[in-house]
């Protein structure tokens, strides 16, 4: 009995031991409203030289701890203003009207991302919190110089989510932070939903920052990002694919060429519509792709990878431009299918050619070589650079089959 009592005392003592650090604890407690919730970040390059003066010497001192000799970047953040975003649905500010901004945009310059954020932190009272960072907009010019530093920072920071979107902007990226689209209370969320919905409608492949990073690291694949432009109503247009070679932006596609990418990868759902006109303009119809399927096979021919891509697409007719044509017999549909196959074949070949010129294999053909022909890969390619060269010489054989399935509610 006595021994039990002794054990109890020890137990009690240990409980105290646990509790004591707690009383001094709460190291990490930071209330949600005390955090500066960063929703979006934009990164621009800085042109003029006098911006050097704008920068405070926060993370470096010009004479003792010099900054790396790298050109400055301008980083803008969009911080949510907690008080301004009403709780619950539709309970908006009333008299103040929609003009009241729900976010706060601040921009700073810095030598690197972290440098810029530190400059920013020096100006903002609450701690910057990246847990809800949803959109990173990088201007075209920065992307051309390379994203190494940007990727490294965001990958290292544990708060940043892999489900965020990174996009390349046409023109200055900071304008995306300032934009005030009408649909969402928070502008960044609109940007994000443009892309999220886009990928749900088949307008754009799923390309979260995490997927971009994975593609970037793969030896047989290059990354790509959405290329966006701000329109005059503060809305955002997906302008194409910005494709990379290594960390550097090397080219941009047209919007429809996104469909080409989706087709070659066989991504569903399919969301693009195209014109087909077997004859003159009056025969033009518009078709809607409903389902895609693509298989890629790789062979080695003459010591060069040869890919056979089979794409089968199912289509619906959405509109026609004149009453000259009647969809009342299968032969007509066949005719259209045939025409579209011809057009598509060229279309797909062109896209691949375009990326081949830049040595940027955004489709991941190299991965097929690595996965299916490892001995060839080990002998001839080995590294990402090797594949970038090899990709240019690769040959392709594309087979397209189009199937017009439905013609809508109209009988003819």
């Amino acid at each position: 009995m006595r021994r039990k009592k002794w054990i109890r005392t020890v137990n009690l003592f240990c409980c105290l031991c646990i509790i004591t650090p707690m009383l001094t604890g709460c190291w990490d407690r930071l209330e949600i409203e005390e955090r500066a919730v960063v929703l979006g970040v934009s990164i621009d390059s800085v042109k003029s030289d006098h911006s050097q003066e704008e920068e405070g010497e926060v993370s470096h001192l010009n004479n003792s701890i010099p900054a790396p000799n790298k050109s400055l970047i301008r980083v803008a953040v969009q911080i949510a203003l907690p008080g301004r975003i009403p709780l619950g649905p539709g309970e908006s500010g009333g008299g103040n009207g929609p003009a009241e901004k729900t976010v706060w945009v601040i921009d700073v310059v810095g030598h690197s991302i972290d440098d810029a954020f530190m400059n920013l932190q020096q100006q903002v009272s609450s701690r910057l919190f990246f847990g809800h960072l949803r959109v990173i907009v990088v201007s075209e010019s920065v992307a051309k110089k390379g994203l190494e530093n940007i990727n490294d920072y965001f990958r290292r920071n544990p708060e940043v989510r892999r489900m965020a979107w990174m996009m390349i902007s046409k023109g200055r990226a900071i304008r995306f932070m300032d934009a005030t689209p009408k649909l969402e209370r928070v502008p960044t969320l609109y940007l994000m939903s443009t892309l999220d919905e886009g990928s749900r409608m088949g307008k754009f492949p799923k390309d979260y920052i995490g997927i971009f990073w994975s593609n970037l690291s793969k030896k047989g694949q290059e990354g790509f990002l959405p290329y966006v432009e701000l329109k005059k109503e503060q809305n955002i247009e997906i302008k194409g694919l910005a494709y990379f070679r290594g960390d550097h932006l090397v080219g941009i596609t047209k919007p429809l060429e996104i469909a080409g990418y989706l087709g070659i990868k066989g991504v569903n759902p399919a969301g693009y519509r195209v014109f087909i006109q077997p004859g003159d303009a009056s025969t033009a119809i518009m078709t809607n792709t409903t389902h895609r399927k693509a298989t890629t096979k790789v062979q080695i021919k003459d010591n060069v990878p040869h890919f056979t891509i089979t794409i089968s697409v199912e289509l619906n007719i959405e509109e026609k431009l004149s009453e000259n044509i009647q969809f009342n017999n299968p032969a007509i549909l066949k005719q259209y299918e045939k025409k579209q196959e011809e057009v598509s074949l060229k279309f797909y070949t062109d896209i691949i050619k375009k990326t081949q010129e830049k040595g940027s294999d955004i489709f991941g053909f190299g991965e097929y070589v690595r996965g299916k022909k490892p001995s060839f890969w080990n002998k001839n390619v080995k590294s990402a650079e090797g594949w970038q060269k090899m990709y240019k010489d690769s040959t392709f054989d594309i087979k397209v089959s189009m199937k017009l399935r439905r013609i809508g509610m109209k009988a003819k």
């Binding site: 949600i32 409203e33 301004r84 709780l87 949803r134 928070v186």
Partner: protein, 541 residues
């Protein structure tokens, strides 16, 4: 309240059991009636309600009848005891009755009263009078008659207030032990039902009944219950809760290791499973041992309704149970540590709601939690007519006011309200209490380490639960150690015909509850008695 009276009187004497009785222990009744009277008068005479009435048996032998007038049924005494004693029975008229024969005559020919026995020890007389029995002493006899005339006002058998059901019996235990045992016997008319009694409490001498089923309950368990009960040496047992605190295994645990119930049908069901039930005179709550955790979220109704529906309701109850334990702490840790977990839109909105609140989330939650506890406590204490009004005032007005005063954020109020409601969904009040208490350390841990801290707290709680035992039965059985038969009645409630075994962690003597193929038996002979095709009327029409 004779018990209290006795207590107040003897308090002055000494510690320990009544020293007067102790002193006179073993003394025999003398043939001198006056001596006996004076003995009783000495000890109990101060009490105003002690009635000592002298009369003559058969008109010749002086006798006295002694009782506490408030504890007995007067008319029984008048008609069944005094009257027959005064008159010589018809068939003996004329015979002379010697003093030697008197006892036999009185016992066999005179007293109509059923409950009567002879007693020769003086101290027992005192005890019997205190219990509400009537003592008849006849001059010249060295034995006295003890007659069970106890009649204490009791309330009617009522609906159990804390364990109401929609489908199931409506009877609940009341205070007197005898009634409670009758309620059990009435449901379990089996020769195997054993009711052992003992008196516990130095002063109250409360009658404690131990019920079990012979041939089902493991005798080791009965022995252990008896052992633990007999070790109890306290002043008074005013409720079964007193006993609970002495027979439980771990006295420091917040978790109840003994279940209590006021439903006789629940006791019977437990007896049939192989448990032991303990009833105390004066308490409407029976104890059931051994107890495992799953009993606290099961209700009688689970077994009376269809199993599919009750399984889902039991699931809801389990969720409510978890809610009431961890909801506030998860809220605190998400708000102050990991806001990245919740959707961005919601996070921004929460931040908006909290923008004007001056306190950190943990303080805010603690304040609201504590005021909720105060409200709850106040509602129990207040008279019923006022209570309803207060709870509405408390919940609606204070909550609303707290939000608009910038004292708490609306989401906090929602969280705490859900938590409180969740804790009411737990059928067992004592288990709900334990979880209610453990919520606070969890909130503090959440405020220190976030989700990590909550998890540490939960692990500590779970480890404690796993190390608990009730009469040797692991507290979380049949989950751990896993017993596949028992799992059928754990999270879901399996169909009755599938649960044909008694819980094996109780190590019952007879393991099976019903025929193994009970379902087949009952559906075998089923015929469509009223099949329309056999309907003569229809065929004719």
């Amino acid at each position: 309240m004779p018990i209290n009276k006795k207590k107040s009187k003897t308090k002055a004497i000494a510690v320990g059991p009544s020293s007067v009785l102790e002193r006179h222990k073993g003394e025999q009744i003398s043939t001198q009636m006056e001596q006996t009277i004076s003995f009783i008068q000495n000890i109990l005479g101060v009490n105003e309600d002690l009635t000592i009435r002298r009369f003559h048996v058969f008109g010749q032998h002086p006798a006295v009848i002694i009782y506490f007038s408030n504890m007995v049924n007067q008319s029984t005494i008048n008609v069944d005891i005094v009257k027959p004693l005064m008159y010589v029975p018809n068939h003996l008229i004329g015979c002379s009755i010697e003093i030697g024969q008197l006892i036999d005559v009185l016992q066999n020919d005179t007293l109509y009263h059923g409950e009567s026995e002879l007693e020769s020890e003086l101290t027992t007389l005192i005890e019997s009078i205190l219990r509400g029995e009537t003592v008849v002493v006849v001059d010249g006899l060295d034995k006295a008659f003890l007659l069970g005339t106890r009649n204490i006002d009791k309330r009617a058998i009522d609906q159990p207030a804390t364990e109401q059901v929609i489908r199931g019996p409506r009877e609940g235990f009341i205070e007197p032990l005898g009634t409670n045992i009758s309620l059990i016997r009435y449901r379990l008319q089996s020769p195997d039902l054993r009711v052992e009694t003992m008196g516990i409490g130095r002063r109250t001498k409360s009658k404690v009944a131990i019920c079990y089923m012979d041939g089902i309950t493991n005798p080791k368990l009965v022995k252990e219950v008896n052992r633990r009960l007999s070790k109890i040496d306290i002043d008074g047992v005013l409720d079964s809760g007193y006993l609970e605190q002495f027979i439980e295994d771990n006295h420091y645990s917040p978790f109840p290791q003994v279940q209590y119930t006021e439903r006789p049908d629940k006791v019977v069901a437990n007896l049939l499973e192989g448990r032991v039930s303990i009833l105390v005179d004066g308490s409407p709550l029976a104890l059931v041992v051994p107890t495992v955790f799953s009993q606290f979220y099961q209700t009688v109704e689970d077994y009376t309704e269809r199993y599919l529906l009750m399984s889902s309701i039991r699931l809801a109850r389990l969720i409510a149970l978890m809610f009431s334990l961890i909801f506030p702490s998860i809220y605190v840790s998400i708000i102050s540590f990991n806001p990245e977990l919740i959707p961005t839109e919601f996070a921004v909105a929460v931040a908006g709601g909290r923008a004007g609140v001056p306190f950190p989330a943990i303080i805010e939650v603690l304040i609201i939690e504590i005021s909720m506890e105060v409200l709850r406590e106040a509602t129990i204490r207040l008279p019923q007519q006022v209570g309803g009004a207060l709870s509405i005032v408390g919940v609606l007005v204070i909550g609303q006011a707290a939000v608009s005063a910038g004292f708490a954020s609306p989401i906090t109020i929602v969280i705490i309200a859900l938590t409180t409601i969740g804790s009411f969904a737990t059928p067992a009040y004592n288990a709900a209490l334990a979880l209610r208490l453990l919520r606070f350390p969890l909130i503090i841990l959440a405020g220190t380490f976030g989700l990590y801290g909550v998890m540490i707290g939960l692990i500590l709680i779970a480890n404690h639960l796993l190390s608990l035992k009730s009469f040797g039965v692991p507290y979380l059985s049949p989950l751990v150690p896993t017993e596949f038969q028992g799992v059928k009645d754990l999270i879901i409630r399996g169909p009755l015909w599938a649960m044909n075994k008694r819980p094996s962690f109780l190590q019952p003597m007879d393991a099976s509850k019903m025929a193994a193929n009970e379902l087949d038996n009952s559906t075998d002979q089923a015929s469509n008695a009223l099949d329309p095709k056999n309907d003569i009327n229809q065929q004719e029409g």
